[in-house]
Symmetry: C2
Subunit: 205 residues, 2 copies
């Protein structure tokens, strides 16, 4: 079972995550390329960490907690809570001393990338990161095509502003192709986005 | 009511946070200096953000979600979840392009700072951040004395290793004084730790 919460992301419960810890189960998923973008990125980040290349983590899902029970002799149980909208991006960390900050989004569309699953708050956050000379981008995955792109935040913001000015609510596939870096899907790491970050750093120097 | 969860931190539910949105309530707390270190840091970070000085946020509390209900025509409700131990530090972000990463801890002790409310995972994370040339530290608050110190991660790790080698399980107050930067408590920002970060950056150059 896969839950979808407000922003359309899949949400896996603890039990499901446990199943995935089983290596056979994982292997099947793996060979089928059935992994979500989040799973691919988590594996990539684990690889980067294990190789001392970068320290980048996904932030925990923001939750509004309303009610907590404290049973005797056992762990506190959250009995009522709600998903909150993220006010920042999902991933951040450090690479060669530089601050790295990004959001990851996937679509089944093949001709364009809809802007609807990004939020105003996240775009604002990206602009703030750029103002502080951090490196910010969005990883876009066209899941039906198995194509992954890294689009710099400054470019994304241009398309966002076009939408705010009454323009189209998506980025066409060819716009993505001409403005972004295509990232080949590999085995280890799965999504080697640091190669793109190297190019972004080099360009800025 | 204040809840304490496994690592001894206070946890405020949504209802309580709502009350704090009331400005009178906030003012009373404020003048009494009854704010927690977390509240002081959140205000400080909001101030930094509003002045375009830095983009630093507290990460959401990590939660293990076990059961979610999807009532018709209303938001998804988390019905069973547990607090997870954090594997990284609580705060991170960007300042002048540099990656900033820290943990914040307070004690009512007046003669020493116990190491027990830090976790092995967090210390490892700090070492990883240092390896990537990030800026990492811990903000220590002696709440009874109203004194706040910034201790660089490299120093903290020295005391941690002393403990692992069988030495004392705390850092004496005078050790804190001689190895760390004292941060004056102000009005706005409350805890101006970026002044210390400036010194750390300068020292490294």
């Amino acid at each position: 079972m896969v839950f979808h919460y407000p922003n359309g992301k899949k949400f896996a419960t603890a039990k499901q995550n446990k199943n995935k810890g089983n290596s056979n189960f994982k292997k099947i998923i793996y060979s089928n390329r059935g992994m979500t973008l989040e799973e691919d990125l988590n594996e990539t980040n684990e690889y980067y960490l294990s190789m001392n290349l970068a320290v980048i983590h996904k932030k925990p899902t923001p939750i509004q907690i309303v009610d907590v029970h404290y049973p005797k002799r056992s762990a506190a149980v959250i009995k009522e809570a709600y998903f909150k909208q993220a006010s920042t991006t999902d991933y951040n960390g450090v690479y060669k001393g530089r601050y790295i900050d990004f959001e990851a989004k996937e679509t089944k569309n093949t001709s364009s990338f809809p802007l609807q699953n990004l939020h105003e708050h996240q775009i604002q956050h990206m602009q703030q990161v750029l103002d502080q000379h951090g490196i910010s981008f969005v990883i876009l995955r066209f899941s039906s095509l198995e194509e992954i792109y890294v689009m710099e935040a400054s470019i994304l913001i241009t398309f966002w502003n076009r939408m705010l000015a009454g323009g189209r609510k998506s980025i066409t596939k060819s716009e993505v192709e001409t403005t972004s870096y295509k990232v080949p899907i590999g085995y280890q790491p799965r999504i080697d986005y640091l190669r793109v970050v190297d190019q972004i750093i080099e360009k800025a120097q």
